[in-house]
Amino acid sequence: MDWTRIRADFPILDQQVQGGPLVYFDNAASSQKPRQVIAALVRYYQQDNANVHRGLHDLSMRATDAFEAGRAKAARFIGAAREEEIIFTRGTTEGINLVAQVWAAQFLKAEDVILLTGMEHHSNLVPWQLAARRCGAVLKHVPVLDDGTLDLAAFDVLLTTQVKVFACVHISNSLGTINPVKELCAKARAVGAMTLVDGAQAAGHVPVDVRDIGCDFYAFSGHKMCAPTGIGVLYGRHGLLETMDPWHGGGEMINSVTLEASTFKPPPARFEAGTPDIAGVIGLAAAIDYLEAIGIAAIQAHGLELTNYAIQRLGEVPGTRILGPQGARASLVAFTLACAHPHDLVEFANSHGLALRGGHHCTQPLMKRFKVPGTSRASFYFYNTQAEVDRMLDILRQAVTFFS
């Protein structure tokens, strides 16, 4: 694989920040966009821009075709059985909120158990807290072991017939843990629980097949996989989506409207009120094309190689503690340095053009679990290089000298 040529597709990476070459290691927060995706947006706005689904003129038909082709592409990308299972959202957070509001309002009742894990991003925790508060359901959490993996023995104990929802992160944004979601969902389904997987860190980074995983819902964001911000996907099993009430009311989601009442379209339109993020979908489709041309397996392998190299090199820095599992993990490494708080370290790194993330990474309970105020995180994508990891290590060594 010619990673150098691929890197050249990302114009943003070729710049100086604070007098040093930009090293962008904040990919778990948001990835960069290749010129192919940017070009798709420009082409759409320069040639095809119009509203979708309702126009009988050429531009609207072109926009609609491109928009619905994006849906089909997203369906194939994650192995959905049919394109009607793809609901476009603003991102992972909105997808989870849709389920935690609509599904929960219909099917959850007092004393039901919502089973989550101790490593959920706030976006797969807070929506369920709100749902529990509304209906009187009870939240439980699968504990996280010291090595950053889930306590599977505890999971088996917690998984009673009271559990009506099991929602779990596919890849932890704070630890890099890849959870065995197929096995977890199979067990959860066996007790009759609805299953949702938060795929924010997984889609575009590891192969995702929702039918193989066997989940009812799978949510992910475009912007972490080379697509624009503001577009995401909620996959929902069709049989389940059909039983669900609408979420937002408005145009596009209705069949007929009188002053008194309305009837609603089948999924996915039922859940897509208003003008959607058409350009976002077109950008997402271009991103999927781009990633698939490289190959998700190659992307995953490159990320793992960089991560293992970074972990090995970080071990050379005195006072470093690395969080997360040994061996199989996603392409990120979170660590603490004894001599510097994450914010100070990230500030120092930024002054050399190195973009890291420091803080609680929207996983405050997990930080408490590991008794750290926060961590510094380097997260990689396929355009990052080993030379950049080396530069990070040079900067970290200098930080140790500076803060000690």
Binding site: Q18, H343, E347, H352, G359, M367, P373, Q398, F402
Partner: protein
């Protein structure tokens, strides 16, 4: 890789020293006023205990907390400066210190600020103003709770 002047200004030796060896670290008894301050976006936390005299002066002050070097050092330096100070002086310091870290307004009494002016490096890092002000905002709350009717 040279270290930028801005960064050196932000993390001066005195500041790093206070962050590593905070002064007046600990808690005061239940007859003191306790205020908790936090910065939810970054998770920094400060607990400040203030013992006010009958005249409103800060007789004693202690703090605990966790967070970045700037938040911990700024609070440590604050306790050194306000311990034993009259209320009016503490209020004046608060106002001047806010000016130092934001760069907005004019410092009234630079001499009174002393070492605290070293934190003016924060001006170049607007996202760190909250860190520098964390302990001070807690103290401001304590002043308010001690004498809410004060017009000073």
């Amino acid at each position: 890789m040279p270290i930028s002047d801005d960064l050196r200004d932000l993390y001066q030796q005195v500041i790093l020293d206070h962050s590593k060896s905070p002064r007046n670290h600990g808690e005061l008894g239940s007859d003191s006023l306790h205020v908790h301050g936090d910065n939810p976006t970054c998770g920094d936390e400060i607990d400040v205990w203030v013992q006010f005299g009958l005249d409103g002066a800060v007789q004693d002050i202690k703090f605990t907390g966790q967070g970045c070097a700037i938040s911990q050092a700024s609070t440590s330096m604050m306790t050194v400066k306000v311990k034993g100070a009259a209320r009016a002086k503490v209020e004046a310091l608060l106002k001047d210190f806010r000016t130092v870290v934001t760069g907005e307004g004019t410092v009234q009494d630079e001499y009174a600020l002393g070492e605290l002016v070293l934190l003016e490096g924060v001006q170049k890092f607007p996202q760190r103003v909250k860190c520098a002000m964390l302990g001070w905002c807690a103290l401001e709350q304590a002043l308010e709770q001690a004498a809410p009717s004060s017009n000073a």
